[in-house]
Symmetry: C2
Subunit: 232 residues, 2 copies
DNA sequence: GACGTACCGTACCGTACGGTTCCGTTGCGA
DNA sequence: TCGCAACGGAACCGTACGGTACGGTACGTC
């Protein structure tokens, strides 16, 4: 499995042609689901031969794995500047990551790949689910964890276990939106930024150091409240 | 599709034999995934004929749908007694529902059925996902919502939009445990009751009416703190 | 200009699965 | 006892898909 993976060579593309094929496969998957992702279909959509597919990816599972790593390589988030300090800066950074997370998770390609991995989970040893977790969750967790620990070191927030704090923030941000989307519930329009701000504010009310949080009450219904300070 | 569903007749079982077949199918699905859930396999495991399968369920999709409603009919939560009032009672009821939710969501059958529905979901109306949402999420949401609104009416908690409060509580309780399990991450041992208590306490700190919450700080790392009053 | 490489397009094969049909048996009511 | 409905078991069919093999073509290299 995982015949010729991009991640091992590091860097960027396996080859331009290969990536074009993967892109076609992703399109096919997004608009047709796993049923549409046949080897013949991919070959037809990408104008390549099945023989090339098997030469490049070794296997259908190898193709699926390559699709996941390929998509992950496109979503690499830029390392945000860690310039300013203070609570407003921390809040702004958290909101930024949370907004990005919400946008990624509700993207069509992400949904399709997660559906694929979940549908095949536990069936094979070649676990696509682990691949998705490694390339999807782990980067987010490390980014958020380092940020949270920096905030704790700066005395802005307090918590014992980093993972607990991260998990709470994740829950506040994503709620059950992800599973609902995966189950096929039509995505209702919403503002990722507003949701992220709301969730981060809730998180800060739970984990903020004693007197850093300003007004006690916060209306949770309406979208973006006016108490958001601008990014410094 | 959905040829002969149990839910329409209300009550209980379609027939004893039918339910036994569905039970066999669930076992097959849990331990083999969708790949193992072939019509021939179900017939063999249940000692029935494929002809009977098609007579009872009309279709493979009908069988899948019947499995979902059948499983849902087994999980019907008992209507909890709404006797006592006051914050400790509210907290206890919330913790009870949250604990139950965590146990159900991490159950093998629930995981397998959710994987099945998600794997077959697409942007078009693939109904299994909707079925899972209707029989899984909606009951929880209505139970929690009525409870939350009762708490608000009693002046114990405050919120504008019920759905927002519900969603926040859901996120605090479940976090991303569900998706991780669906992706095949091995379930690590944890105490649903302790997690539920922690989440409900966090929720009450966010939505509790002004002076009803006692000590301000709360350690989030350790499991079940000693500040939990017994159920009245 | 011969050779090798990389690739496309397509035909082909084996298999597995959904769905159908047929037959034998059991059991129940008239 | 007869008839009939329900059911189990098994054979069968059509199709779709993963995987392979083969022929043909463009291109670079000696």
């Amino acid at each position: 499995m995982l015949a010729t993976e991009t991640a091992e060579t590091g860097h960027e593309a396996g080859s331009a042609r290969r990536n074009a094929v993967l892109e076609s496969a992703l399109v096919l998957l997004v608009e047709g689901g796993e049923r549409a992702l046949t080897t013949a279909g991919v070959a037809r959509a990408a104008n390549c031969s099945k023989e090339s597919l098997y030469k490049w990816f070794g296997d259908r599972d190898g193709l699926l794995a390559a699709m996941i790593t390929f998509q992950a390589s496109k979503v690499r988030a830029e390392p945000q500047p860690v310039g300013a300090t203070g609570l407003p800066a921390l809040r702004a950074q958290l909101v930024g990551i949370a907004t990005n997370l919400l946008k990624v998770l509700s993207g069509d390609v992400s949904i399709a790949l997660n559906r694929l991995a979940i549908g095949k989970a536990r069936r094979d040893a070649s676990d696509l689910g682990q691949l998705v977790l490694d390339h999807g969750r782990r980067p987010i967790e490390t980014r958020l964890s380092t940020l949270l620990e920096a905030g704790r070191d700066a005395g802005l927030i307090t918590f014992d276990a980093t993972h607990e704090a991260y998990a709470t923030l994740y829950g506040l941000v994503v709620r059950d939106m992800h599973v609902r989307l995966l189950l096929g519930e039509p995505k209702q329009p919403f503002s990722p930024a507003a949701r992220a701000e709301q969730a981060v504010d809730q998180f800060l009310r739970l984990f903020g150091a004693e007197k850093t949080i300003g007004p006690a009450r916060e209306r949770t219904g309406s979208g973006s409240p006016n108490n958001a300070p601008d990014i410094p």
